[in-house]
């Protein structure tokens, strides 16, 4: 019914050559079966479907082959009867050019349908009004219907509106998008001309589900046949005259959801909001027809109408084509002529994307295959400088300043781009179309949007990392304080014990204390090493963390199950659990590190004890150990300097002279350090008659090895950390890092062994000297 609707208009917009008449000369033709059908599991927005058939299984036409994965997802059905020959990654038609899991079916040519029936028959009712909205939505969900206008948003999700207690719907207007403003595409036009009844039936289902008072069907006035056909259909099918067929002025992009809503209602969808905020639900005519088939015939979405057009095909037209049909099949049917610089655009010339290969399949959203010749759509010339002519501003339907967005995106001044509402850009391409300098503006916007999204994600991550770091610092401080307190307590206890012992000894009056004083002092730290309370505590904490992790994991998997079963509230819970899990895991890692450190420290204690026994105190700056280290670092610096000098010489740099003086100086330093070390080590060796030459040497050697061990341990820790991070983020460096970690571990083991041997000899010497 044509009602008097007050039309509004949107700012900007362009009038590109329509080029629609080529493909409307012939009626819609059914496309014959191809040899293979390739069904990507994600043909919609949301989680990809999950296959529920096995390779080699025979499937019937309309049989469910993959079920929806969660609420925002749709199932997939076999477009014809045949055999599943593979389930594997294949390139899919998506502007990112990625591969994704696909189900490949070899048709048997029998077109054998699975049992299906109208929802009315199934429920034994006679009229649509007798069916509950939820049953209809379930049917639509089960039939795998996703928006067929281009985006592919699961239709059932849009239809799941919550009514208030009185049964009133928040939706008052249903808008059906039949604008089809993109040049060349005529799939919706032909559908409306030939299947107007289906569209109107579908609309009535939608009206019933939504409880909306009215439906506005917006069609550009360059489609008079479609408008007439729908009006006719309305006369017989729309007794309540809720449906208005509205002819709108032809202007690109009037078919953009936001623009169409503005034209028909004068209202604007709030930025970042959805039409439902205005009490509006928007659906495409193709979707309406698919809903009719699902409800009245029980046919799932397994085919669609696709326009094949462009100068490269001799027989342009519309095909009723099974999902999964390769583009090449349709192109051949339409008489494709090989082209220089061949291009096939899926979608229209303004917003479509080029296919990397013509073997890619058609999906639920593929409304057009456009194969232009080079003369028809010249390959973009090199962009010239922006002359700030402002033509883009005049063309932008979103009232943005495309020129400013371009300058900001180009200069990577993303904050300014955001401030200029970059994210309200609908990527319609009107600005690029009019730009006299041929600047690929939309490409810049996509890049900027991508970069900003990445930045946001990275920022979030670094925030988390910062928090984690701060938490760790706090914990370390706390633990240090605890340790200190424990140490004090221990010292007091030890003092008390010593006093007790003394008292006991005095009481017993035993002069012959078997364990030598030196033996007592060296054995007590060893005993402490075996029973360090700090270590015990850490280990306890570790076990606690491990149990916490396994519990969280359990909870997480339960929540995930609930989520996949359709409980949307679980979404946040899953996210929270996941982050909790990550946190727990990091804590465990930290703990493990602390334990390792503690163990190392404990291991070092006996060594320190031997040190104390063997030579002067470690804290003494003139201790041989210190001096030796000094000497070694000086030597290392010298080596590095010499190396640099060689390089400089080889490259003929003018730093040679400077380096040479530096080296001479460094050499002096090395000599001094060496002399100092020798002087010191010589003296104690000379004074300490008990100790012999080899022992001091071996202790020095042991020190060196110990140092190496420390370094190796450090390196190992770092490598492990990096590996863990890579695992967490699923980077492809995991293998390489694992290898590195193993190597480090080996080195460390070798060093530890060396140290152990050295210590053994050293202790042997000390024992011998002790028993002397």
């Amino acid at each position: 019914m044509t009602h008097q609707i007050q039309l509004h208009s949107f700012d900007g917009g362009i009038h590109p050559a329509e080029n629609k008449q080529q493909s409307t000369r012939t009626p819609i033709r059914p496309a014959p079966l191809p040899a293979l059908l390739t069904l990507p599991l994600g043909q919609h927005i949301g989680a990809p479907a999950v296959p529920c058939v096995a390779v080699g299984e025979r499937v019937l036409k309309g049989q469910l082959v993959a079920h929806a994965d969660g609420f925002v997802s749709v199932p997939l059905h076999a477009p014809t009867s045949g055999t599943v020959v593979a389930i594997e990654d294949r390139p899919v038609p998506h502007d990112s050019g990625l591969t994704a899991l696909c189900l490949i079916i070899e048709p048997d040519g029998q077109e054998q349908w699975i049992e299906h029936q109208s929802l009315l028959d199934e429920l034994g009712v006679t009229s649509l009004e007798d069916i509950a909205a939820s049953d209809l939505v379930e049917r639509i969900r089960g039939c795998g219907i996703a928006g067929m206008g281009g985006a592919g948003f699961p239709t059932a999700v849009k239809l799941a509106v919550k009514r208030d207690d009185n049964g009133n719907s928040p939706i008052n207007t249903l808008i059906i998008n039949g604008a089809e403003c993109e040049p060349y595409i005529t799939a919706d036009d032909m559908l409306m001309r030939e299947r107007a009844d289906e569209v109107i039936h579908g609309i009535r289902v939608l009206l019933h589900i939504l409880g909306a008072q009215r439906c506005l069907v917006g069609i550009e006035d360059n489609k008079p046949e479609a408008i007439a056909a729908l009006n006719n259909a309305c006369q017989s099918l729309d007794q309540s005259s809720q449906i208005s067929i509205v002819a709108i002025p032809t202007k690109y992009p009037s078919g953009g959801e936001k623009q169409l809503i503005q034209i028909l209602t004068g209202e604007e969808v709030p930025s970042g909001g959805i039409p439902a905020n205005l009490g509006i639900v928007c659906q495409n005519v193709g979707t309406a027809s698919a809903i009719y088939r699902a409800v009245y015939h029980g046919e799932p979405l397994i085919s669609r109408i696709t326009t094949v057009t462009g100068d490269a095909v001799s027989d342009p037209g519309n095909w009723d084509v099974m999902l999964g049909t390769p583009a090449s099949h349709l192109l051949q049917l339409s008489g494709y002529q090989p082209q220089p610089l061949p291009r096939v655009i899926m979608g229209g010339p303004m917003m479509g994307f080029t296919l990397p290969d013509d073997s890619l399949p058609l999906v639920k959203t593929s409304n057009c295959l456009l194969a232009p010749s080079v003369t028809e759509m010249p390959v973009n010339e090199a962009a010239m400088a922006c002359i700030r002519c402002g033509m883009c501003t005049l063309a932008c339907p979103a009232q943005l300043l495309p020129q400013q967005l371009y300058w900001f995106s180009k200069a990577e001044e993303f904050d300014k781009a955001e401030q200029h509402n970059l994210f309200d850009c609908i990527e319609c391409g009107a600005c690029s179309y009019v730009c006299p300098s041929q600047i690929p503006l939309v490409q810049y916007y996509r890049h900027a949007k991508g970069a900003i999204r990445e930045e946001r994600a990275a920022h979030q991550k670094s925030e988390q990392a910062r928090e984690r770091f701060e938490r760790r610092l706090a914990r370390q401080e706390r633990e240090a304080a605890e340790k200190e307190a424990k140490r004090k307590a221990r010292a007091e206890a030890a003092a008390l014990a010593a006093a007790n012992k003394k008292a006991a000894a005095a009481a017993e009056n035993s002069a012959s204390a078997t364990p030598a004083a030196s033996g007592g002092s060296s054995s007590s730290p060893v005993a402490a090493a075996l029973t360090s309370p700090a270590l015990e505590k850490l280990q306890k904490q570790l076990t606690a963390a491990q149990t916490a992790i396994s519990k969280t994991k359990e909870k997480l998997s339960a929540a995930q199950q609930a989520l996949s079963a359709g409980d949307e509230d679980q979404q946040t819970k899953v996210a929270a659990l996941e982050s909790a899990l990550v946190k727990a895991q990091t804590r465990m890692k930290d703990l493990a590190k602390d334990i390792a450190a503690e163990k190392k420290a404990l291991k070092a204690q006996p060594a320190a004890a031997t040190d104390t026994a063997a030579g002067p105190d470690k804290g003494d700056p003139n201790s041989p150990e210190r001096l030796q280290r000094k000497w070694e670092t000086a030597q290392a610096r010298l080596d590095a300097a010499i190396k640099r000098l060689e390089e400089a010489k080889a490259q003929g740099l003018d730093t040679v002279a400077a380096l040479e003086t530096g080296i001479v100086k460094q050499q002096q330093r090395v000599d001094e350090a060496k002399a100092a070390w020798q002087a010191v080590t010589g003296a104690p060796v000379a004074t300490n008659t008990d100790s012999t030459e080899p022992s001091s040497q071996s202790s020095a050697e042991a020190d060196a090895v110990r140092k190496k061990i420390r370094a190796a341990q450090d390196r190992l820790n770092k490598a492990q950390e990096r590996l863990a991070m890579a695992r967490e983020q699923q980077l492809d460096t995991v293998d390489a890092l694992t290898l590195g970690v193993n190597k480090q571990q080996d080195k460390l083991n070798a060093l530890t062994q060396q140290l152990a041997e050295l210590e053994q000899t050293a202790s042997q010497t000390t024992t011998t000297s002790g028993t002397d």
Partner: protein, 348 residues
């Protein structure tokens, strides 16, 4: 079959920067023709000279900057800059003035900023302002007399000799009507002023034809959608309002008709103020920018010491253009109100 992949949109309008620049250049032709008819060959020679200098300088600099010379030259922007300078200079200005103005415009005002599209100031007006300040004598007294001022127009030979050989232009030149009126009105009445030879009874001494011709060219630009109405209309409105409110008494101030139809008013409104690169670009911004030029034009003409003021008015507003743009962003679809300035809105 592997296919070529390109980013959307795949269709493109048939507009191009070359075309835009060329159309603007061509739209100056009526004005150029009228000027040549009224003032003799001086203007034509200047325009050709300036265009050649501009293209040569641009080529040279592109060469030095190692940019593809032909690719950038074919955008016709240097041609347009040259033509505008040629039109703005006095018809009998010596050749080296043209050279200095053009070279400065191309080298300093355009290429040193990064070339096409990156210059914050209108190059032609920078070049013009430079020579106006540096050589005030040649710039203010060399305006050829128009045939309507009762003087004999410089012929081709005379013009060549004045421009290239340093011949005397005294016989053919004088002050412009704007300048004359301003000076004479201080001690005469409007009727008396109009008896001066510059006016010879006509209010504008032939300049109205020049301005009407540029107006016609400007309308062509509007019709071809190369410019929008905002800047010219705002500028002319600003100028008219000022002269109507402040200069309503023709016996005391230059009247609005003389402001609108004399000097470089129409050339400025449609060809210079609208230079896209250096102008404001938002719809509201263009209105503010244009009005600003109109008001400044009136102020400098009335109280300044230069005979005309288009160059200074435009350059001053060029300064403000980026700021104006930032504060006149349109309200984007789906937003309750427009963003202002360059700071990010905090509350989201």
């Amino acid at each position: 079959m592997a296919l070529m992949t390109l980013s959307s949109p795949h269709a493109h309008g048939n507009n191009s920067t070359q075309k835009v620049m060329l159309t603007v250049t061509l739209a100056t032709l009526p004005g150029l023709a009228v000027m040549t008819a009224l003032f003799g060959f001086g203007t034509l020679i200047n325009v050709v000279l300036a265009a050649l200098f501009a293209i040569a300088t641009e080529a040279l600099i592109l060469r030095i900057r190692q940019r593809p010379v032909m690719f950038f030259l074919k955008d016709n922007s240097a041609l347009l800059t040259g033509v505008l300078i040629g039109l703005a200079l006095p018809p009998l200005a010596p050749w080296w003035i043209t050279l200095v103005a053009t070279a400065f415009a191309i080298i300093f005002a355009k290429q040193l900023y990064g070339g096409m599209g990156n210059n914050p100031f209108n190059p032609a007006m920078i070049g013009y302002a430079l020579v106006l300040i540096s050589f005030p004598l040649q710039m203010t007294t060399n305006w050829a007399l128009s045939s309507q001022m009762g003087a004999s127009v410089a012929g081709l030979g005379d013009a060549l000799s004045v421009i290239f050989a340093g011949g005397s232009a005294d016989a053919f030149s004088g002050a412009t009507p704007l300048d004359t009126y301003k000076h004479l009105i201080s001690n005469k009445t409007a009727t008396e002023v109009l008896t001066d030879t510059t006016f010879n009874g006509w209010l504008n001494g032939g300049w109205e034809w020049v301005n009407l011709a540029f107006l016609a060219g400007g309308l062509v630009l509007l019709w071809r959608r190369i410019i929008t109405w905002h800047i010219p209309v705002a500028m002319l409105a600003g100028l008219s309002l000022c002269s109507l409110i402040l200069g309503w008494d023709a016996d005391m101030y230059t009247p609005a008709s003389l402001h609108l139809l004399s000097g470089a008013t129409m050339l400025g409104a449609f060809f210079i103020a609208t230079d896209p690169v250096s102008a404001a670009t938002t719809p509201l911004g263009k209105l503010i920018y244009g009005a600003g030029i109109g008001i400044l034009l009136y102020i400098i003409r009335t109280w300044g010491s230069y005979p005309d003021a288009v160059a200074f008015a435009v350059l001053l507003m060029n300064f403000a253009a980026p700021f104006i743009d930032a504060y006149t962003q349109p309200r984007t679809y789906g937003h309750a109100k427009a963003n202002r300035g360059l700071k990010k809105p905090e509350a989201k």
